[in-house]
C-alpha cells in the first residue's frame, strides 16, 4: 500500500487528469474516420466553451442585480458545473455526466476550502510579518515591557520592544509534555481497542466515552486539570498555588489530545489488512511484536496525521493553559515550577488587553507575529510527522 495514494489515472477527458495520465503519445498516423472508442465524445474544447458561456451568463445576471467580482465568479462556477453536466448528459450519457459533475464538485470543494485558508493565512501573514521581523522578537520576552515603550513605538519614536521567547519556550515545553503523555496512552488504548479487545463490552465503553471526551470544552479540561493537580499537590502537602505550573497545563491538554489520538489511530489500525497480521502470526511472531512491527508501520502515515492533528489542536488552546499555568512575562524552562507562558495565551492577551491600551498597535503586531510563529511551528511539526511517516511507511509499489 502506498503512503500517499496516487490518483487512479483514468482520465475522463478533463484537462486536469489529462496532464497526469500515462497516455501513450498520440499516434502520428490517425486512422481515417473517428475511432469508435471516441465516438459521441465531446470535443476537447467543450469545457472551455462551457466555461466561457458560464462566465458570460454570470456577467449578465450580475448586470441585473449589481456587479461584483465574487458574485460573478461564484455564479459563473455554478453555471459551469451545471452547464457541463447538461452538455455531457445531452451529448454523451448520464454516467459520464455524473462522473463529470462529481469531479467538478470535488474540485469545487477543494477551491472552497482554499478560500478561508488563503484569507486566514493572508490576514496572519500580512499582520504578523512585521512582528516576526522585529529584531529580537524571538530572543526576548516581555520582562520590562510597559505601555510607555509601545506608545513611543506607535508614535514612531522608538522600536517595538518585547518578544515571544517566554511564550515560545512555554508552548514548546507544554506541548511536548502533553504529547509525551497523550501519544503513548492514545496509541496503546487504540491498540487495545483494535488488537486486543475482541470488541468486548469494555472496549465499547471506552470507544463511546472517548467520543464523549472529544466534546469536552477546552476550558473545562483546564479547570479539571487545575482542580486535579491542586488535589494531588495537597496530597503531598505542597503550598496551594504551587500547582500552577507547565505540567498542569500539559495534563489539561492531554485530556483534549487523548481522544483525538485514540479515535484517529483506531481508524487507521482498523484498515490494516488482516492478512498481514495472519502472515506474521503464522511465522510464530508474538502479537505485541506483530502489532509494533507490522501493524503500526503499515498505518503509520495515518497515525502521524492524527497525532499532528491532535498537536495542532492543543497547541492553539488558550483557556486551559491560562487557568493551569498562569501568566508570566519571564522565560521559564521548568515544567514543574513556576508559571509558564504559552503562545496562544500571549496572543490572546496581546490582542484583548494590549500592553498600552491607548496604543494597541505594537501589541497587535506582537500578537499576529506570535500567531504566525505558531502556525509555522505546527507546519514544521507536520513536515516532521510526514518525514517520520515516510521513513517508517510501506515501501511503495505493486498491486
Amino acid at each position: 500500500m502506498t503512503t500517499q495514494k496516487t490518483p487512479l489515472e483514468d482520465s475522463v477527458s478533463q484537462p486536469i487528469a489529462a496532464t497526469a495520465s500515462g497516455d501513450a503519445p498520440a499516434g502520428p498516423e490517425r486512422r481515417h474516420g473517428r475511432s469508435r472508442l471516441t465516438a459521441g465524445q465531446l470535443p476537447k474544447w467543450t469545457p472551455y466553451a462551457v466555461g466561457a458561456g458560464a462566465l458570460v451568463l454570470s456577467a449578465a445576471i450580475m448586470a441585473l442585480i449589481g456587479f461584483n467580482v465574487a458574485g460573478w465568479v461564484i455564479i459563473g462556477a455554478i453555471a459551469y458545473v451545471v452547464g457541463m453536466y447538461v452538455v455531457t448528459l445531452v451529448k454523451e450519457n448520464r454516467r459520464k455526466a455524473t462522473d463529470g459533475l462529481w469531479r467538478n464538485l470535488i474540485i469545487g470543494a477543494f477551491l472552497i476550502a482554499l478560500v478561508p485558508l488563503i484569507s486566514v493565512m493572508w490576514t496572519v501573514i500580512a499582520n504578523g510579518w512585521q512582528g516576526i521581523t522585529q529584531p529580537g522578537f524571538f530572543a526576548s520576552d516581555m520582562q520590562g515591557i510597559t505601555g510607555k515603550y509601545d506608545r513611543a513605538a506607535e508614535a514612531g519614536t522608538g522600536p517595538i520592544l518585547g518578544g515571544i521567547a517566554h511564550a515560545l519556550v512555554g508552548t514548546l515545553l507544554i506541548t511536548a509534555a502533553a504529547t509525551i503523555i497523550s501519544v503513548p496512552i492514545g496509541l496503546l488504548a487504540s491498540i487495545y481497542l483494535v488488537e486486543y479487545s475482541n470488541d468486548n463490552v469494555f472496549s465499547k465503553v471506552i470507544r463511546f466515552f472517548v467520543d464523549v471526551m472529544t466534546g469536552i470544552p477546552s476550558i473545562v479540561a483546564g479547570l479539571f486539570a487545575a482542580g486535579f493537580m491542586l488535589a494531588v499537590f495537597k496530597l503531598f502537602g505542597a503550598q496551594p498555588g504551587a500547582q500552577t505550573i507547565g505540567l498542569s497545563a500539559a495534563i489539561a491538554l492531554s485530556v483534549i489530545m487523548i481522544p483525538i489520538v485514540v479515535r484517529s489511530t483506531e481508524e487507521m489500525l482498523r484498515v490494516v489488512p488482516n492478512e498481514l497480521r495472519e502472515a506474521s502470526a503464522a511465522l510464530g511472531v508474538r502479537k505485541w511484536r506483530t502489532t509494533l512491527k507490522v501493524v503500526l508501520p503499515t498505518a503509520i502515515s495515518g497515525i502521524a496525521s492524527g497525532v499532528t492533528l491532535a498537536i495542532a489542536r492543543v497547541v492553539g488552546e488558550t483557556a486551559p493553559i491560562l487557568v493551569t499555568a498562569g501568566f508570566t512575562v519571564a522565560t521559564n524552562w521548568n515544567l514543574v515550577k513556576d508559571w509558564m507562558m504559552a503562545l496562544p495565551v500571549y496572543i490572546y492577551y496581546q490582542l484583548t488587553t494590549p500592553t498600552a491600551p491607548q496604543a494597541p498597535e505594537p501589541s497587535m503586531i506582537r500578537a499576529w507575529g506570535g500567531a504566525l510563529v505558531l502556525i509555522i511551528l505546527v507546519m514544521l511539526l507536520n513536515l516532521l510527522a510526514r518525514a517520520v511517516a515516510k521513513w517508517l511507511a510501506p515501501k511503495t509499489a505493486g498491486r
Binding site: 483514468d10 475522463v12 501513450a24 486512422r31 472508442l37 454516467r95 509499489a397
Partner: protein, 259 residues
C-alpha cells in the same frame, strides 16, 4: 459482440523498468487465446494493458498500440472507461467487494449501466451469472451474505460471475482456475467454451493441459533473465505450440513436467 484485438510493437513499463517488450499479436474475435510462460515473464502485465488497467499503477505506462476492432485504445481522447466496459477482466487474486453481499457483487458491474433493474431481472441475471461460474448451488441460499466470507475458490468464481454479468466484448482472465478444484475448473472451462461463441476470451494459465484443452491459439511469453523484459516468443495455433513449436524455448517449456 466479440471484437478483435491487435497489439503493435507494445512496450510496457513500470516507471523506467521495461517489463514487456515489443509484443505483436492479433487476437481473433470469437476465439480463446491462452498466454503461457514462466512466472514473472509479464503475462499479467501484458494482459492488463489490453483493457488499460495497467496505467492504474503509479508510473506504469505503455508505448505502442493496442487496437480494439481497429481502434487504438491508447489513442488520444479515448476514455479508459469505455475501453474497460468493453474489455472485462478477472484478476489473478480474487477481489470481491467486501462491503457488498454476494448478490450485490454479481450485480456491481451491471448496475453501472444505470438501467433500472426489476427485481426479477436482477434475480435472473444473478442466477445466470452464478450458474455460469458454477457457484450458484453453493451460494444460492446466502446471496445476501458478504462476499468475503467465501472460500478462496468461491471468491474467484464470484469474480468470474461478476465479470460475465456485464457481458463485455472481450473477457480477460488471469489464471481464473488457479484456486479452483477440478470440478469448478471444468465448469469454468465449459463456460469459456460457451463464451467463445459470443465473446473474445484471453486467458492466462500455468496449466498446460488447460491451455491445450480450451484455447484455439496460444502465446508463449518468456524472459531472458532477471531484470530483462519479457517477450512474446511464439504465437500460433494451440496444437502447433504444443506439438511442433518453432522455437526451442517453447518446446522446452511445454515439454517440461506439467503442472
Amino acid at each position: 459482440m466479440a471484437k478483435r484485438i491487435d497489439a503493435n510493437d507494445l512496450n510496457v513499463y513500470y516507471g523506467k523498468f521495461l517489463a514487456v517488450e515489443g509484443v505483436n499479436i492479433n487476437i481473433e474475435p470469437r476465439s480463446v487465446t491462452a498466454f503461457i510462460g514462466p512466472s514473472g515473464c509479464g503475462k499479467t502485465t501484458f494482459l492488463r494493458t489490453l483493457n488499460r488497467m495497467h496505467e492504474v499503477l503509479p508510473g506504469a505506462h505503455v508505448k505502442g498500440k493496442v487496437l480494439l476492432d481497429g481502434d487504438d485504445i491508447y489513442g488520444p481522447g479515448v476514455d479508459p472507461v469505455t475501453v474497460r466496459s468493453q474489455v472485462g477482466m478477472v484478476f489473478q487474486r480474487p477481489n470481491p467487494f467486501p462491503t457488498m453481499s454476494i448478490k450485490e457483487n454479481v450485480l456491481a458491474g451491471f448496475k453501472l449501466n444505470g438501467k433500472r433493474l426489476s427485481k426479477s431481472d436482477a434475480d435472473s441475471i444473478v442466477e445466470k451469472s452464478l450458474r455460469g461460474a458454477n457457484l450458484w448451488n453453493e451460494v444460492k441460499d446466502r446471496l445476501d451474505k458478504p462476499g468475503s466470507g467465501l472460500s478462496g475458490g468461491q471468491q474467484q468464481r464470484l469474480c468470474i460471475a461478476r465479470t460475465i454479468a456485464v457481458e463485455p466484448s472481450v473477457i480477460l482472465m488471469d489464471e481464473p482456475c488457479s484456486a479452483l478444484d477440478p470440478i469448478s475448473t471444468l465448469a469454468v472451462e465449459d463456460l469459456i467454451n460457451e463464451l467463445k461463441n459470443e465473446y473474445t476470451v484471453v486467458i492466462v494459465t500455468h496449466n498446460m493441459q488447460q491451455a491445450a484443452r480450451v484455447s484455439d491459439k496460444t502465446a508463449f511469453f518468456n524472459i531472458a533473465g532477471t531484470g530483462k523484459p519479457g517477450k512474446l516468443i511464439e504465437y500460433a495455433e494451440t496444437s502447433t505450440i504444443f506439438n511442433n513449436p518453432v522455437e526451442q524455448a517453447t518446446e522446452d517449456y511445454v515439454s517440461g513436467r506439467f503442472g
